[in-house]
Amino acid sequence: MFDYSKYLRMDKLPHIWCYGCGNGIILKGAVRAIDKMGWDKDSVMAVSGIGCSSRATGYVDFNSLHTLHGRAIPYATGIKMSRPDLNVIVFTGDGDATAIGGNHFIHAARRNIDLTVVLFNNNIYGMTGGQYSPTTPQGYFASTAPYGHIDPSFDIVQLAMGSGATFVARSTVANPREMEKFIHEGLKNKGFSLIEVVSNCHERFGKRNKMKSPYEMIEWIRSRAVSKVKAETMEPEELEGKIITGIFRQETRPEYVEAYDSFVMQKAGGGN
C-alpha cells in the first residue's frame, strides 16, 4: 500500500479539482514516480504555472512554487541555475505550456536543462471555462469554438522533439501505471524531460462534446490510445485522431547547467 500522505499536504485535501478530474490521477502517478527516485523531499522543487492542473504544486509536500500563466519553465530554469542540486519538476497544462508558455517550453528543451515537465493535457482551458487550447481536436466544441473547432493541434511530442528535448514520452490517464513509469523514466533523465499525459476534463470539454462523465471521457481517451509500437504498423489514415503513447526519445546529451559549470566557469576560472 502506497502511503501518499508522505508526499502530500493532507490538510489541503480534498483538492479543488472537479469530481473525476484526471489531474488527480496524474498527481498520483507523479508522486509514485518521485517516490521511486528515493529523493529527500527537501531536494524536490515543484513548479507550476496557472490553470487547474497548475494547482498541483499546492498539494505536494516539496518546495513548491505557483507562478504566472505560462511561465513555470523560466522560473524553474532560474531555480536550476541557482541550485543545480535541486530536482526540479514542472506541473503544467496544455494551455500553460504550449499556448502562452510555448516559447519557454521549446527553449528549455533546446537547452536541455534538467527539468522534468509533466504536462497535463486535457485538450482545453479548464480553469477559465473551456476555451479551445492548442491541443483541442478539430471538429470538437469549445466555448470559443461554438461552431466546431478548426485549428490543427500541436503534436506536443513532435514539438518537444523538434526543439531538442532528450526525453520525450506520452501516456494517458487511462493507463495510470504506464504514465507512472514514463514519469519515472523522465525523472531519471539528466536533461530536459517531457511527459505528456492526456487527461479528461468532462466539466469544460466533455459536457460540450457529449461526454458527460469522467468515465466516458477516460474511455474515449482509451479508445484513441495506440502504443507507439502498434502505431508503427498502422496506416496514416488509421492513425487519424489517435493518441500515440510510448517513449519517443531517450538519449543522453550534456545537461545545460553542467555544461555551464564545466565549460564556462572553468574557462572563466570561477568554479565553486
Binding site: 489541503k12 523531499k41 527537501d42 531536494s43 522543487m45 513548479v47 504544486t57 499546492g58 509536500d61 516539496f62 518546495n63 513548491s64 512554487l65 505557483h66 507562478t67 504566472l68 511561465r71 523560466p74 522560473y75 524553474a76 530554469t77 532560474g78 531555480i79 541555475m81 541557482s82 541550485r83 542540486d85 535541486l86 516559447n103 519557454h104 527553449h107 547547467v257 555551464y260 564556462v264 566557469m265 574557462k267 572563466a268 576560472g269 570561477g270 568554479g271 565553486n272
Partner: protein, 372 residues
C-alpha cells in the same frame, strides 16, 4: 581609499551588482542596456555565479524570480520595450515579496521610439506599470560612481524589504565613462537564512511587516503563489486577507521611508528658486545652479535619488520656502505633474525636452532667470 577604475555606467552597474552579491543574471539584450548583460556574462562565472540569456524579457524576469527564491541574489537589465514586457512578472515579485533588481536603462519612447537616444520617459511607468495596487521602490543615480553604489543599495533594499527594486538609468548614464573609487567599506546585506520547524513554518510570517521567507531547498518546504495568500503562503482570497495584505505591503515601504528615501540638496539653503531634477539631467541643473549662485541668485538643487517612493515630504518643505520650483526633465513633465500633488501649482515651472538631448545649463539658467 579604494582602487580607482574608469568605467562605463553599464559596467559599473554590473560590477556593483556583483559586489552586492549578485550571482545570477537572466537577461535579454536591448540597446542601451546590453553591456550590463555582457559584463555579467563575463564576470559571473569568475565568481562562481551564473549567467543565462533567456528567450525574451518575460523569461528573463521569471528566471531571476526563481533564482532569487532558490537563495541566489538575482538581477536582470533591460530598456523600455523590455521593461513593458516585464510588468506582469514585476507585479508577481511585489506580490510574492521576492528580492531582486530590475535595471531599466531608459531610451526614447514610446514603443521602439529612439533606441539610441536618452529619455526619462519611464518614470511614471516604474510607479504604475503593473496592474493592481502595489508599492514600488525605484532608484535613479546621476553618475557612474553613484551607479556603482546605488546598485549595491538597490540589492540591500531588496533583501531587507523583500521587494523587487527598479533601478532606473538613462542612455547617457549607461554609455558614459567616468572614474569610480571602489571603496572597501561597503555594507552588504546578505540573504537571510531562516530556520525552523518545517511542519509549522510560515514563510509569510511577519517581522515588522516584512515576511520571513526562507530559501528553497534549505529544509523548509514552503509554497509561494501570485494569488493573495495567508501567512503560510497558501491562497486566501477572503476580503479581509486581501485588504490586510495590500495594506501591509504598502506599510512595509511607507514606514521605512527614512531608510529607503534618499536625495541630494545643493546650492543655496532655502533658495528662492529650487531646481528639481533626477538622473544625469540633474547634473545639468547643478551646473546651472552654480552659475546662478555665482551671479548672486538664490538657487538650490533638489535631486531625488530614490524616485519611488518620491521624497515628497522634504520637497514640499523646501518648496514652501521657495518662490519658484523649476522641474527639469527629459520627458513631458512626469515629475512636474506629480509635484502638483504637494507643491502649489503656481510655483511649478516645468522645463521639458524630448529631443534626445539633455536640457543644457544655459536653458535652465535662462528659464530660471525668466521666472524669478
Amino acid at each position: 581609499m579604494g582602487e580607482i577604475k574608469f568605467l562605463q555606467g553599464n559596467e559599473a552597474c554590473a560590477l556593483g551588482a556583483v559586489r552586492a552579491g549578485l550571482r545570477f543574471f537572466g537577461g535579454y539584450p536591448i540597446t542601451p542596456s546590453s553591456e550590463i548583460a555582457e559584463q555579467c556574462a563575463r564576470l559571473l562565472p569568475r565568481v562562481g555565479g551564473r549567467f543565462i540569456q533567456m528567450e525574451d524579457e518575460i523569461a528573463s524576469i521569471a528566471s531571476i524570480i526563481g533564482g532569487s527564491l532558490a537563495g541566489t541574489k538575482s538581477m536582470t537589465a533591460t530598456s523600455g520595450p523590455g521593461f513593458s514586457l516585464m510588468q506582469e512578472a514585476l507585479g508577481y515579485g511585489i506580490m510574492a515579496e521576492v528580492p531582486f533588481v530590475v535595471v531599466n536603462v531608459m531610451r526614447g519612447g514610446p514603443s521602439t521610439g529612439h533606441p539610441t537616444g536618452p529619455s526619462q520617459g519611464d518614470i511614471m511607468q516604474a510607479r504604475w506599470g503593473t496592474h493592481g495596487d502595489h508599492p514600488v521602490i525605484a532608484l535613479y543615480p546621476e553618475s557612474v560612481p553613484e551607479t556603482y553604489y546605488e546598485i549595491i543599495r538597490a540589492f540591500n533594499l531588496a533583501e531587507r524589504f523583500r521587494q523587487p527594486v527598479v533601478f532606473l538609468m538613462d542612455e547617457i548614464l549607461g554609455k558614459m565613462n567616468e572614474s569610480v573609487e571602489i571603496r572597501d567599506d561597503i555594507e552588504i546585506i546578505p540573504r537571510r537564512k531562516i530556520e525552523g520547524d518545517p511542519s509549522r513554518y510560515a514563510p509569510y510570517a511577519m517581522k515588522e511587516d516584512i515576511p520571513q521567507t526562507a530559501n528553497y531547498g534549505e529544509g523548509l518546504r514552503f509554497h509561494v503563489t501570485g494569488l493573495f495568500h495567508d501567512e503560510t503562503g497558501f491562497p486566501d482570497v477572503s476580503g479581509d486577507n486581501i485588504q490586510r495584505s495590500i495594506d501591509r505591503m504598502f506599510r512595509k515601504i511607507e514606514e521605512h521611508e527614512d531608510v529607503i528615501g534618499k536625495w541630494e540638496e545643493t546650492g543655496t539653503v532655502d533658495p528662492d528658486i529650487l531646481l528639481v531634477s533626477v538622473g544625469t539631467q540633474a547634473r545639468s541643473a547643478k551646473m546651472a545652479c552654480k552659475e546662478l549662485n555665482r551671479e548672486g541668485i538664490s538657487a538650490g538643487v533638489f535631486r531625488p535619488v530614490t524616485v519611488w517612493p518620491f521624497p515628497e515630504k522634504r520637497l514640499a518643505e523646501l518648496s514652501r520656502k521657495a518662490k519658484k520650483v523649476l522641474i527639469i526633465e527629459m520627458n513631458k513633465g512626469q515629475l512636474a505633474d506629480e509635484c502638483r500633488k504637494f507643491i502649489d501649482g503656481d510655483k511649478i515651472i516645468a522645463l521639458n525636452q524630448l529631443n534626445s538631448e539633455m536640457i543644457s545649463p544655459r536653458e535652465i539658467i535662462s528659464t530660471a532667470k525668466g521666472v524669478l
